[in-house]
């Protein structure tokens, strides 16, 4: 296009060109729109992610870094620390954390927070990742309905941070032993849970909280018995050495084991609600319930070295209690020092005998027990110290029936019950041995030895004389005897003339005897022959005899 020859009016020239590009400059509105969109989206995102800000107080803020330290729930990041400061009284560290919005529902009044640091225990190693990544704040939600924004952090992580399904149980014991939090809980040597808490109650006993994971919590029944499985149980029994332990970890960190107790003995105190007694060991746990202990007192008129507190009290060989005190008494009458032994006995341990007792008295009151013991004493029940082991010299108290013992008085009204005593067999044995030794000492040993020596000398002389004189004569006699026997032997030989002659003689004498018998027979039949002489004989034997007999 060529320029107009005349000056054009100002609108004339650019109009067509401008109109064609009208929309391009309008594209510039994309910029503020984009800016607005970005800004609004950021705001929305921010608003959406804007979770609650919580404040947790800790004793120390070791390793907690603003912006870097994360808050994790089940190992998933749900927030981060936004500020760390001190409380107004400078006693605690206040850690503020911004949580994501979806974590807000986890913030219950009893939600727990703790700082996760590397921990190396006997049972487990945890938090090793924090060595490199720095600490983080662990979180465990609670069950409360109230929501909270201010929390007090735990100094130690809870044993159960992830709330697995299962059952919490409270175990009561006089002392917790070597149990540590996190110690394993075993059911038939299979780990099914952990110790999650230990408390010292106001009455001085301990309460151990254990957690048994599902589905093993079904093994916990009202009859279940819990016992401390710490350490190694070494038992030397009739069947040899028996070493028992739950696991190596239990040896080091302690542990709790449980199993079904005797099914017929359901104690009212142990119920499925979660309160159980923690027994000292498996034997105690599996023993039938002892019931209430009863105290008995015994006066021994002898030294009881080796009788310790805790020594067993055995009734006919069955352990029914233990010694609780050994004291020295003083008798004014005879100015002696009897040993007073106090023991607690559990009548329930007497089994059938207790059943009889219970049937008699219905209740296990002191009176019925006293009456029961009275009858036993009448039948010869006596307390006596016995040696449990010759090696250690430890004594125990045996309650045995000794009908031969002297009659003892039993006062059923004295509390605690006074049991009649006799001196221990071991002591009697000791006395007997002493007397024996004394007798041996009294023997005139030297005299005996001297006499014996003289006697032996005489014997020696006699023997030597025998050797020199008597033996040669005996030899001659023996040879003579030998000759005599030799000739006798020859005489008695079958081929000897004597023997042959004897045989002939015997043969002849037989013929003679036969003739004599014939004669005797003939004479018997014909006694007249003696007078008339022998008649001629037609027929020998019976027919002749028969005819002759028929004739007369």
């Amino acid at each position: 296009m060529s320029a107009a020859p005349t000056p054009p009016s100002e609108e004339e020239l650019p109009t067509p060109a401008v109109r064609s590009r009208t929309w391009i400059p309008r594209l510039v509105w994309v910029v503020p729109i984009a800016a607005a969109v970005i800004g609004i989206s950021l705001l929305i995102k921010n608003w959406e992610n804007e979770g609650p800000r919580i404040t947790i107080s800790f004793l120390t803020g070791e390793g907690v870094q603003v912006g870097k330290t994360l808050v994790k729930y089940r190992d998933v990041t749900v927030g981060h620390v936004s500020a760390v400061g001190l409380s107004a009284d400078h006693q605690t560290v206040l850690v503020s954390a911004d949580l994501s919005k979806d974590a807000a529902s986890l913030l219950k009044a009893d939600t727990q927070f703790w700082i996760v640091r590397p921990r190396i225990g006997v049972g487990s190693v945890s938090g090793l990742d924090t060595l490199l990544s720095g600490v983080y704040i662990g979180m465990k939600t609670g069950a409360a309905t109230l929501h909270e924004r201010q929390f007090v952090g735990l100094e130690n992580p809870p044993a159960l941070s992830h709330g697995p399904r299962g059952r919490e149980l409270q175990l009561h014991a006089a002392r917790a032993g070597s149990l540590a939090i996190g110690a394993p809980v075993y059911f038939r040597q299979f780990q099914v849970g952990r110790v999650i808490d230990e408390n010292l109650l106001s009455d001085g006993s301990t309460r151990v909280t254990v957690f048994v994971e599902a589905p093993y919590d079904g093994f916990v029944k009202p009859v279940t018995r819990f016992w401390n499985a710490s350490g190694i149980n070494v038992k030397l029994g009739a069947d040899g050495l028996n070493v028992q332990t739950e696991s190596l970890a239990a040896v080091l960190a302690g542990g709790v084991a449980f199993d079904d107790g005797p099914t017929d003995a359901v104690s009212a105190a142990d119920d499925i609600q979660g309160d159980f007694t923690l027994y000292k060991n498996e034997t105690d746990a599996m023993a039938p319930p002892d019931g209430e202990p009863h105290y008995v007192r015994m006066h021994f008129a002898q030294a009881l070295r080796g009788l310790d507190v805790g020594a067993p009290v055995e009734f006919v060989g069955v352990n029914i209690g233990s010694v609780v005190a050994v004291d020295l008494g003083y008798e004014r009458q005879d100015k002696s020092f009897p040993v007073i032994v106090t023991a607690k006995v559990y009548p329930r341990r007497m089994g059938q005998a207790y059943a009889v007792l219970a049937a008699q008295g219905k209740t296990e009151s002191e009176e019925t027990l006293a009456a029961f013991v009275g009858t036993l004493v009448k039948r010869g029940l006596r307390a006596l110290p016995r040696s449990g082991s010759l090696l250690t010299g430890k004594l125990y108290i045996a309650l045995d029936f000794l009908p031969a013992s002297p009659r003892a008085d039993f006062d059923a009204s004295i509390r605690p019950l006074e049991l009649p005593t006799v001196n221990g067999t071991f002591q009697e044995l000791e006395a007997n041995i002493g007397r024996l030794v004394k007798k041996v000492n009294d023997l005139p040993l030297e005299q005996i030895v001297a006499d014996l020596h003289t006697d032996l000398k005489d014997l020696h002389e006699t023997l030597s004389e025998l050797h020199v004189r008597t033996l040669p004569n005996a030899e001659d006699t023996l040879s003579a005897l030998h000759r005599t026997l030799d000739s006798a032997d020859r005489t008695l030989d079958v081929e000897s003339p004597l023997q042959r002659g004897l045989a002939e003689t015997l043969l002849e004498s037989r013929g003679t005897l036969q003739a004599v018998r014939e004669l005797a027979d003939y004479l018997d039949r014909h006694p007249d022959a003696l007078l008339r002489g022998r008649r001629p004989q037609k027929m020998p034997g019976q027919p002749a005899a028969a005819s002759s007999e028929a004739n007369p």
Partner: protein, 205 residues
Amino acid sequence: MTPLRQSHELGLVLCRTCGLAVSRAALKADLRCPRCKSRIEHRTPFSTEMTLAFLIAGITLYIPANLLPVMHTSGLPGDADSTILGGIFEFWQSGDWDIALLIFIASVAVPFTKFIAIGLLLFTVRKNSRWQQHQRTVLYRIVEFIGYWSMLDVIVVALTSALLQFQLLGTAEPRAGIAFFCAVVVVTMLSALSFDPRLIWDRRT
């Protein structure tokens, strides 16, 4: 005093790039400056519209720029996300009032001045105001000039991030806020550039 004569009355068009006053008659149909060959127009088309658009964009971006942290420092004293205003506050409290003032001027005062100045210019141009035409031109020059210096805080963050990298002892990292700050500066500069100062002198009757 006789009123100043307008360029269109003289039949002249100014090239905004090289400052050559071209006779309208001499202009070719492609509207190129005969000297520098850049586009030449009597008045930059859609100037006020573009200026307004960029201004609105700048103000919009200025909000997240101040709300979001611009820098993250970590080190022995602790970790911190700092926003511009928070940083100024901290510097002021710790006694470094001079640094606080510097950052305040570079990051808050200057952008605000620019928003107000450009807004004022736009408003008066729309109104065809003949008020303080000369001063408004000077104001425009100033806005155009300080545009370059509003990048100060962006440079501070860039330098700190580059220099403060001692791992354990301390590190600094830029955060999203500084990108918005950068965008604010760029958009306001574009806004200032889009504005045609010749409009200040126009008066349509």
